[in-house]
Structure formats: structure tokens, C-alpha cells
């Protein structure tokens, strides 16, 4: 494993393992309502649209659009050193389905709201894969 920067990791359990471990198969996964096909995020036991309880993880394409971002310069988490990009991306499959994430593999001149991005994964300990996003055409 190559040297990776320190990163705080999520507490993984039955309700969110599909999200944080999907990267092992290269998949970005969300809970999806099997009745009305709505993606549900963050994970919940009931579909917020039709109130069905039939929810299962499904993979999305991993393609998204940059909704907004910040280039952060301040050290908030010891060991996770600035500068770094924090972004909110909107997943292609459903308007309003958003993730807060880090943008990687891009220079300041590249970053524009609306730009196309795709998921990539950073493998961490305990089977956790952190979904990150990079320019689609990189």
C-alpha cells in the first residue's frame, strides 16, 4: 500500500457498509427503493418518497457534476493537511442526490461548478473505501 495521508474514517455498520465498502468492487452504491426506484441518502429504513421499507443497495455509474466546492486552507483535522478541495457533487442518476467529498487530480484552473466528475476510491484499513471524485476526462 502506498503512503496515504491521514484521514478520519467512518464508523461502518450494517446500515452504511454498502456505501463505505462498495469501492472493493469499484462500485459507488446507494440504497434504492425497490417500489418507486428512488435513491435514498443518507441511508434510512424507509423510502422518503413512498414510505416503502423495501430498500436495497444498488450501484450507480459513479458519474456526477460538481455542484459547489471550496479550496480549504485551514488545518481542521490534525494530520489531514491543507490545502485540499472539499466539494459537493450531484450524482447523475437523481437530481438532488448529493455527496460531500474531496476533489482529486485537478488543478485550480480545472475546477468549475458544473464540471463533469467521476468517482475513484481510496482504500483504507478495515475494508473501507473512501469515494473521491476526479475530473471525468482525466
Amino acid at each position: 500500500m502506498t503512503e496515504k495521508p491521514f484521514r478520519l474514517l467512518p464508523e461502518v455498520g450494517a446500515e452504511n457498509a454498502h456505501f463505505w465498502q462498495g469501492g472493493a468492487e469499484g462500485e459507488l452504491r446507494f440504497l434504492r427503493c425497490q417500489a418507486c426506484r428512488t435513491y435514498v441518502h443518507p441511508p434510512a429504513p424507509v423510502c422518503p418518497e413512498c414510505l416503502s421499507r423495501e430498500l436495497s443497495p444498488e450501484a450507480v455509474s459513479g458519474l456526477a457534476r460538481l455542484y459547489t466546492y471550496t479550496l480549504n486552507h485551514h488545518s481542521w483535522v490534525p494530520g489531514f493537511d491543507p490545502p485540499y478541495w472539499v466539494a459537493i457533487v450531484e450524482i447523475d442518476e437523481q437530481p438532488g442526490l448529493r455527496l460531500t467529498t474531496n476533489l482529486v487530480g485537478c488543478s485550480p484552473a480545472d475546477v468549475k461548478i458544473g464540471m463533469r466528475v467521476r468517482v475513484c476510491f481510496e482504500e483504507r484499513e478495515d475494508g473501507i473505501y473512501i469515494p473521491l471524485f476526479e475530473p471525468e476526462n482525466s
Binding site: 478520519l8 459547489t68 479550496l71 480549504n72 483535522v77 438532488g96 455527496l99
Partner: protein
């Protein structure tokens, strides 16, 4: 007639007294002592004695984990310290912003649960974060820290502060509406100008646009001067039932309407419109419950934990159009003490310190009573709005001076 007029709080609750402790950086004094100073001053300001107080309300209350000094005193601290005998009390964090606790007090007096409610908020962040070891987020637990709940979606990405989340809202606003840093700077410059007239403000030395533009970046587009200043201090006020307010020393400040709505998702990244969030809904509710209009407001004390939030409140409350806060504040004249809508007249949280919403409401009351001294808005203002919170948290009150 305003929608929901039969259900509005108008003229059932009033602010009748205010108090504030010393406010400063690293005061190194007991936060409960600061709280006592503020509470006793508010009770005396209303012309009451402590036996008149039959309710207590605060945000966030005691026993709250989180940033050191975030809660300098809880309900039971104050009740026991002053040996208050109360019929109603309430402290909590899950509210429509910090002033949600004052809205609760309004409901308590409007429904007859109490007659005079002592509302307070004490922060002690400057001393608490400036003395003990600064562990930093996630450094406890021998490296086995794991983020749960909603923090799992942000902490792994170093998005560990509202500065980061709200910077992204500002960036989206810049994108949609062409807003610039030079425009946003006016929130900080206006605050600093007003702070120069406030002996209790933290940062009083003049600041120019160049000082702002050259400041250290925190989370782009926010620089240091877009972020409020942690302080020690306590603010208190008395909310009275209007019939009981007649016993008080000063003209009651009638609570004309309040806004507490949250009609979108309570989430920092999933809310439908990140350029406004809860502020949109709280503001809409406030205007649904009064016949007054934004043009009737003569003083605006709007939350500026980060500069952009005050811009979002200006838009949400209708002092300018949606997306138009940048051009509206450009040059600073519209929001100056003698401007169209005087804003954050004591220096806001950016220059007068992060009293967490309560400092803004305190200032609104002070202006309506004509006690602003050097920074008094001219013309004897009779209507003011105070608003606190940002992101998925927002609450606001419209005050009108009574006879």
C-alpha cells in the same frame, strides 16, 4: 390581513429587559459569573426582581458535548445560582437556530405557562479553547476514532467545520449570481466600522478593503475576516407576557412575528437550495404572520457567524431580491448606520464577538430603546429584526416598540 393572523404571536409576548456581561478574548473568569452578570442586569433593566422570574430558556443548555466552551451555563446552573422558582423551563440544541430558545419563551408567555422568562446564552469559547490542550478533531481514542451519524459524511473529507460547509454555499451563490469577494467584504467592513463605535467590541481598529483581500484564506472564498471571533461573554433578556409587561420599567418591545420554519431537508448538503437553506423558510414564515413589510424595518441584526450568512438573511428577509445581496451591499452604503437598512450595528459577531445570536437580539432591543449611544441608528427606530443561524438552522424575530 396576514395569513394565519389568528394564530400569530403578535402582541402576546414582549422583550422587557436586556443584560450583557463583559465580553472579551480569554477573560479567564468563571462563565457562571458572566452569566450572573448578564441575568441580573436583564432583570433589573426590566424593573423586575428575581422573584418575578417564573421561566428560564436557553440554547443549547448544559451537558452538551462538542467544542469546549460552547455552552458556558445550563438551565440548572442558573436556576440554582439564583434560587429561581419556575413554572416553565427549557434548554435545548435542536431548535430553529440559537434564537429558537427565545421563540420558545414567547410561546411560554403567550400560552400562560409563565409571565416573565429569563432567556440567556453564555459562551466561553475563547478561554476554553485558548488554555487547555488543543487536541483537535478525532485525536482522542488512541487513533481508533470513527465518525458516526451525520459527521461520517463530512469528517473523512476534512470538512470538519461550518466554515467549510458554508464556504461551499457562498461559492454556489457566487456561481449562480455573480457575487464577488469584494461585495462580500462589505459585511466585514460594515461590522468593523460599527465596532469602532462600540466600546465592548473585540476588534475596533479600522479595516480597509485591502486588509480584507490580503488576509489569510480559511476556506475559499472565506478569509479570516469572514469568520466570527470566539469570545467569552453572556447575554440575557427577559421575555414577558404583554399584560405583565405593563409592570416593567421600559416600553415593551412587542414580538410582532417569529419565523421558525424548516421546509427543506435538515442537512448541510442535501437541502434543495444551498444558497439560502433554512433562512428562506424562517423568513417566509415571519412575513406570513404580520402585516408589516420589509420596508417597515429600520434596524437589521442578522447572523454573521460567517459573512455570507448575513447576505443570505438579507435576501431571505426581503431587504433585497434573491441573489441580489452582492450588488445591494456593494460600497456599503445601504447597510451603514445611516443607510437603507442599518446592519449589525454593534459590529456583528465578526467584530464584536461570537455571542451566538443573542448579541444580535440584544443589540436590536438596545437600538429600539434608543440606547445605542455613538452607534444609535438615527430617527428613533421602532421596528427591528433579529435573526440567527445558518445552514439548516434559522430563526428570526420581528420586534416593534410599544407604548
Amino acid at each position: 390581513m396576514a395569513k394565519n393572523a389568528n394564530r400569530k404571536l403578535a402582541r402576546q409576548a414582549a422583550i422587557t429587559g436586556i443584560g450583557q456581561s463583559a465580553v472579551g478574548r480569554r477573560l479567564n473568569v468563571d462563565p457562571l459569573g458572566l452569566t450572573a452578570d448578564a441575568c441580573l442586569e436583564a432583570i433589573a433593566d426590566a424593573g423586575l426582581c428575581r422573584d418575578d422570574i417564573d421561566g428560564i430558556s436557553t440554547y443549547p443548555g448544559g451537558g452538551i458535548p462538542g467544542a469546549p466552551g460552547f455552552s458556558g451555563a445550563g438551565i440548572s446552573d442558573v436556576q440554582d445560582m439564583l434560587r429561581l422558582k419556575v413554572d416553565w423551563f427549557c434548554g435545548g440544541l435542536e431548535l430553529p437556530g440559537q434564537l429558537g430558545s427565545v421563540i420558545n419563551a414567547c410561546m411560554a408567555v403567550a400560552t400562560g405557562m409563565a409571565r416573565h422568562v429569563l432567556c440567556f446564552r453564555t459562551v466561553w469559547e475563547s478561554t476554553a479553547q485558548g488554555t487547555g490542550p488543543r487536541g483537535g478533531i478525532g485525536t482522542g481514542g488512541g487513533g481508533r476514532f470513527r465518525a458516526g451519524g451525520f459527521m461520517q459524511w463530512t469528517l473523512p473529507y476534512g470538512a470538519a467545520s461550518a466554515a467549510v460547509w458554508i464556504a461551499m454555499m457562498a461559492r454556489r451563490h457566487f456561481h449562480e449570481f455573480g457575487t464577488t469577494r469584494e461585495q462580500m467584504a462589505q459585511i466585514a467592513l460594515n461590522a468593523r466600522r460599527n465596532a469602532g463605535l462600540n466600546p465592548k467590541a473585540i476588534y475596533r481598529e479600522p479595516m480597509a478593503l485591502d486588509d480584507y483581500l490580503e488576509a489569510r484564506m480559511i476556506s475559499d472564498p472565506f478569509c479570516l475576516y469572514d469568520c466570527d471571533a470566539p469570545v467569552d461573554g453572556s447575554t440575557a433578556l427577559i421575555v414577558s407576557a404583554v399584560d405583565a409587561a405593563r409592570d416593567c420599567r421600559k416600553p415593551p418591545l412587542l414580538v410582532e412575528a417569529v419565523g421558525s420554519a424548516l421546509r427543506g431537508r435538515p442537512s448541510w448538503d442535501q437541502f434543495d437550495d444551498l444558497t439560502t437553506m433554512a433562512l428562506r423558510d424562517a423568513s417566509a414564515m415571519l412575513w406570513e404572520r404580520t402585516d408589516l413589510k420589509p420596508a417597515d424595518v429600520q434596524v437589521a441584526e442578522l447572523y454573521d457567524g460567517f459573512s455570507f450568512i448575513a447576505m443570505a438573511w438579507l435576501e431571505a428577509l426581503g431587504f433585497c431580491g434573491k441573489g441580489e445581496s452582492g450588488p445591494f451591499i456593494e460600497g456599503g452604503n445601504a447597510i451603514a448606520l445611516d443607510g437603507e437598512i442599518p446592519l449589525n450595528t454593534q459590529g456583528g459577531q465578526l467584530s464584536a464577538g461570537r455571542l451566538h445570536g443573542f448579541g444580535l437580539l440584544h443589540e436590536a432591543a438596545l437600538q429600539l430603546w434608543g440606547e445605542g449611544e455613538q452607534r444609535q441608528v438615527p430617527g428613533g427606530p421602532e421596528v427591528a429584526v433579529a435573526a440567527a443561524g445558518g445552514g439548516p438552522l434559522g430563526g428570526c424575530l420581528l420586534l416593534r416598540r410599544g407604548d
